[in-house]
């Protein structure tokens, strides 16, 4: 009897302590799809099911609404994934376009998504995700676009949600969608010349997601796993170089001038770019511990079920983490 009780309590203890496993998915954002061994390994070993794949952008540069940077043909069978198309739409699309263009937009977007998916042999997708950093002046047009897209496509509609749109949802509005994808990255502008990490500022994240449980639409959370160096040239102009790690800068070619900033001692080729002496590079990366802290915060904070989506599935970033780091 005693043993039985002991077993029971042990069992209860184990159940009570076990961490809920959050399912992991990925974004894919390149126009030229390259799925290699690393991508396949991480995707499989993390038991990922969904790939949210950017298929094109929509913009209006002044000569009408047009699709931009369409994804090139790719082999969808390389990953055992359910594909969800993502379309990025600029704000000026909604600001600059005529009423007629905007009324035709949902039809055009759906047609191009369908053609892209069919052409790449992805027969069924039940959701479309739209990425747009809407503002007060584009909200109305964006929300009606979403409604119309749902009507035309008959699919579920998701939308990315910026952190401020969670905290100030009363002001910014909540889009008419089936699923929200809360972007927990790009917390500030990389062109701001500060020491802060523009990719993810954890204190800002915690502040903006204080009341995330009140968000009225079911949501998933997206975390960054990219890093870059912000290069500043002789005129103070900047350029981003993806996938730079700190250890590449701790060499004789660079002089460390502050915690995260390095100065070039000579003209060099670096990540395919030619850079000149005296240019500075500021490194911004998401360390495994920062990632862990963000995930722990979600664990404690979020009371509903959610999926975690990493931005994005790219070997050059993945290899900076172990599989465990990303679990």
């Amino acid at each position: 009897m005693k043993i039985k009780i002991l077993y029971l309590s042990l069992l209860l203890f184990l159940v009570g302590c076990s961490e809920k496993k959050t399912p992991i998915d990925f974004y894919y954002w390149k126009a030229n799809v390259k799925i290699g061994e690393t991508e396949i390994k991480y995707f499989d070993q993390l038991n990922s099911q969904n790939l949210f794949i950017r298929v094109f952008d929509v913009d209006n540069e002044g000569s009408g609404v047009k699709p931009k940077s369409k994804i090139n043909p790719f082999d969808a069978t390389l990953l055992n994934a359910k594909y969800t198309p993502v379309v990025f739409i600029t704000n000026r699309t909604f600001l600059k376009s005529t009423e007629k263009e905007l009324s035709e937009l949902p039809q055009h977007v759906y047609k191009l998504i369908s053609e892209t998916m069919t052409s790449n042999k992805i027969s069924n997708f039940d959701e479309i995700q739209i990425d747009c950093d809407w503002t007060n002046s584009t909200r109305e047009a964006y929300f009606s676009f979403l409604k119309e897209l749902k009507k035309i496509s008959g699919r579920k509609i998701g939308s990315t949600i910026r952190l401020h749109q969670v905290k100030y949802k009363e002001k910014t509005g909540v889009p008419p969608i089936d699923k929200a994808y809360i972007m927990c990255y790009a917390t500030s502008n990389p062109t701001d010349k500060t020491e802060a990490n523009s990719i993810l500022d954890i204190s800002l994240l915690k502040d903006y997601l204080q009341n995330v449980n009140d968000y009225p639409v079911s949501f998933n959370l997206a975390l960054p796993i990219y890093s870059w160096a912000i290069v500043t040239n002789h005129l103070g102009n900047i350029k981003l170089i993806n996938g730079v790690s700190r250890k590449e800068l701790d060499t004789d070619t660079f002089e460390k001038i502050s915690q995260n900033t390095y100065k070039l001692k000579k003209d060099v080729f670096f990540h395919g770019l030619y850079l000149n002496r005296d240019f500075t590079l500021k490194i911004e990366e998401i360390s495994p511990s920062l990632l862990k802290e963000a995930k722990q915060f979600f664990n404690q904070k979020v009371s509903k079920d959610y999926r975690l989506i990493y931005y994005h599935l790219d070997g050059q970033f993945l290899s900076l983490y172990s599989i465990d780091d990303l679990k």
Binding site: P67, L235, K239
Partner: protein, 793 residues
């Protein structure tokens, strides 16, 4: 049908750079004073600096097509004839001519039977090339259409590969002329490359092109195709070397070859460098390193000039350097955030900009002074200009004097720089300077309006800047603006300066030139326009808005009663007269687009004879009525209460939210705009000139004045109908204050959550007069009041 080059589609690595998201052209927001074309070699013009386009845009015909030139020479015809025959004539016409038939294309008349018999083989080649040409595209995704499929029935895969290769090799073997053999060889390489048979393409080049040992323009076209194929085979160093040869030798393919080169690591770079044989080739490679707009071009210039100070590549990079300095220093609208305590004299640069500009100057001086430099004109010019940008005018003059104006471009550039330096070095712009400007440089000023806008407006801005600094505000203002700009931010001090300047006796020629700019837009060429009417009308408005009625009346009395701000005639307000007397009334409904009959309620006006019965008044009449009303309003009787109410209405109606807000703000209608949004007053003397003055829209939104009159009216009014009306008027002031205090800038398009309802004091007051007719009227017309009554009463 769009045609794309295979190289670009297959091999060009797409560089995903962030683009500035604003819709503006970066090539137009700075003064481009330095003519980059001074480098004098059109082949390199595409590599001059342009932020907007991929390559610097070169006018047509500046660079001749080298393939056409080769045909021209070979067939002994003119360039235009060769161009038409090769690029424009139809295949059918060429075949008809071969077969001795006539064609209707008049541009082919030069092809006589004698020509045909002499050049039959060439025409046969051209006919076959024209057959292949439409198919020289590949299947791809159309870039900006709402489709994922390329709708073309003519792509390279639609042709039978073996059949075409067979025809081409047979033709090559049968042909005895080296020129035509080379062209068939080119077709073979291109066709295999477009079919992505890279190995074949390389093989055909080595078999049918290279052994001819003949390298006119078309040889490099073939080499370009072979290099693309090598890249397809991942032979990067060899491909780069091929593209590099194309870059060096082909003016037509230079930009394409540059785009196809991929030098992105030290190994590729050194590999290529080792293969180069001449200084020209090495200089081209250094040019490529310094060409990217993100890179510092100076290290490349130093490497080039150390051995070859006259090299074109160094000039191209220096032209680019100067252009990027112009972009950082010579903004077309210069704010002066960094120079508030520093030198406000243009050209203005910051410390970091100075470093780059100093480095550039050092190099420029050293090449200009280098005894080995043969052509010093370019370097003397760049040195003079860089000294000018650094405000070292004496050295700028010294080097400019050394420039020998050998060409029209050099002469014109020299003269322009001379003028900039002359103006810039003056401690102040005196009458003597003005006279010199209008004698020695009159030509420049005469062409100000017609010619190169940017160059000319730099002179205008430079002078405006100097006048501004020496406090000649009227001249400074009028150089950059017409007086109409004051309609967005009227200022008495500027008006007084302008009045004094316009009335100045014995103006010199240059002052007259500036004064000619004074009339408002639309009246520029109207010689009978009386500018004093305009000035005093504006002064009157300023005084009235400031509550200074006596001065307002004095100002208006100097305006002709027939003065009109707008040419339009009829019953409408014309800028001075025909102001409806309902300006003393109140809004029955809120609607800016509606007519005043529909919007405005008028009551109690007949109690005041000064308002009159004509239905409209002019501005002096308005002021007289206001003075008279003020007198009556000073008492405590019912009539005083009414006078206060009418005054309150008037002053409310001319605030940001009043129906007559346009009357004293120089607008014909009351439609929403910048003039009716609250802002803060700017210090107009803080900048470096008054350029684009109308961007600083500012009108004081005075809600206190109407509120004070209305409160007094409410205090003394006894009649409940009147009290209800006053309470409603006061509640509108409360809402206006709410907007003001909450920074609701564009409150013309308001959301209901921006309305102050709960706790609105004068809704509560109005609610006390439930028995009045006015109460029922408001309840019917005003949803917010209705909401208040239903929820909070």
């Amino acid at each position: 049908m769009k045609k794309i080059i295979l190289l670009a589609a297959l091999l060009f690595t797409f560089n995903n750079q962030a683009k500035p998201c604003a819709d503006y052209d970066p090539d137009y927001d700075y003064y481009n004073l330095f003519m980059q074309e001074l480098v004098s070699d059109p082949q390199y013009y595409p590599f001059l600096m342009s932020y907007h386009l991929g390559y610097y845009s070169v006018p047509e015909n500046v660079i001749k097509n080298d393939n056409i030139e080769q045909w021209q020479k070979y067939l002994g015809i003119s360039y235009e004839q060769a161009l038409h025959l090769v690029f424009k004539a139809s295949r059918d016409d060429v075949r008809s001519l071969i077969n001795g038939k006539s064609v209707s294309d008049a541009n082919l008349k030069f092809i006589t039977p004698a020509f045909v018999s002499k050049h039959k083989q060439s025409l046969l080649y051209l006919a076959y090339a024209k057959y292949l040409e439409p198919y020289m595209t590949i299947t791809h995704i159309p870039s900006d259409e709402w489709s994922y499929y390329y709708p073309s029935d003519k792509t390279v895969d639609k042709l039978d590969y073996n059949q075409v290769i067979n025809v081409l090799t047979k033709s090559w073997n049968a042909e005895t002329d080296k020129e035509l053999k080379l062209r068939y060889g080119y077709q073979l390489v291109r066709f295999a490359h477009y079919n992505r048979n890279y190995g074949d393409a390389v093989k055909y080049f080595d078999t049918y092109v290279e052994p001819l040992n003949y390298k006119p323009a078309i040889y490099y076209y073939a080499l370009d195709q072979k290099s693309g194929a090598l890249k397809g085979l991942n032979k990067v160093v060899e491909a780069n070397y091929g593209f590099f040869q194309v870059f060096v030798h082909s003016p037509e393919l230079k930009t394409g070859a540059y785009s196809s080169l991929t030098i992105n690591n030290e190994i590729d770079f050194q590999g290529l460098m080792r293969m180069l044989k001449t200084d020209k080739e090495r200089n081209d490679l250094y040019l490529m390193l310094g060409y990217s707009e993100f890179n510092n071009p100076l290290p490349s210039i130093e490497k080039i000039v150390s051995k070859t100070p006259d090299a074109i590549q160094a000039k191209v990079l220096m032209a680019r350097t100067i252009n990027s300095i112009e972009r950082t220093i010579l903004h077309t609208n210069q704010s002066c955030e960094e120079c508030s305590n520093a030198d406000k004299r243009m050209p203005i640069s910051s410390k970091s900009e100075n470093k780059f500009s100093d480095d550039a100057l050092k190099i420029s001086v050293s090449v200009a002074n280098n005894l080995a430099t043969k052509d010093k004109n370019f370097w003397n010019m760049t040195t003079a200009y860089l000294y000018f940008l650094n405000k070292d005018f004496s050295n700028a003059k010294k080097y400019l004097a050394l420039v020998n104006p050998t060409t029209k471009m050099y002469a014109s550039q020299k003269k322009q720089f001379e003028l900039y330096i002359y103006i810039s070095e003056q401690p102040s712009i005196t009458a003597e300077v003005e006279e010199t400007l209008f004698t020695k440089y009159k030509q420049e000023f005469n062409s100000l309006k017609e010619e190169n806008y940017y160059y000319n407006s730099f002179i205008v801005d430079l002078l405006a800047n100097r006048y501004f600094i020496q406090k000649d505000y009227a001249k400074s203002f009028l150089l950059n603006n017409s007086i109409s700009a004051l309609e967005y931010n009227p200022r008495l001090d500027l008006l007084n300066d302008i009045e004094a300047f316009v009335n100045k006796k014995n103006k010199n020629a240059f002052e007259n030139y500036i004064a000619n700019n004074v009339n408002p837009y639309g009246e520029r060429d109207n010689k009978s326009f009386n500018i004093m009417d305009y000035i005093y009308n504006m002064k009157g408005d300023i005084y009235l808005s400031d509550g200074n009625l006596d001065q307002a009346l004095k100002a208006y009395d100097r305006v002709s009663p027939h003065f009109k701000m707008w040419a339009k005639t009829g019953a409408d307000y014309n800028g001075f007269s025909k102001i409806p007397t309902s300006i003393f009334g109140y809004n029955e409904i809120e609607c800016f687009e509606c007519s005043d009959n529909m919007t405005m309620g008028v009551q109690y006006l007949s109690d005041f004879p000064s308002i009159g019965t004509a239905g409209t008044m002019n501005k002096p009449q308005i002021v007289k009525a206001l003075l008279s009303l003020k007198k009556t309003a000073s008492g405590k009787s019912e009539i005083a209460a009414k006078a206060n109410y009418v005054l309150g209405n008037f002053y409310y109606n001319i605030t940001n939210t009043g129906y007559y807000r346009n009357i004293f703000r120089f607008d014909r209608t009351n439609g929403n705009g910048e003039k009716y949004r609250s802002g803060s007053e700017k210090d107009i003397y803080n900048g470096i000139y008054f350029k684009d003055y109308y961007w600083n829209t500012y009108f004081k939104n005075d809600i206190n004045t109407p509120e004070a009159y209305l409160e007094k009216a409410y205090e003394f009014a006894k009649d409940n109908e009147l009290r209800a009306q006053i309470a409603f008027a006061l509640s509108k002031c409360e809402q206006a204050e709410y907007y003001e205090n909450n920074n609701m800038q564009s409150y013309y398009w308001i959301n209901s959550d921006q309305i102050f309802i709960k706790g609105r004091k004068y809704f509560e007051e109005l609610a006390k007069y439930e028995s009045t007719d006015f109460y029922s009227k408001v309840l019917a017309n005003c949803n917010y009041f209705e909401y208040y009554v239903n929820h909070y009463k």
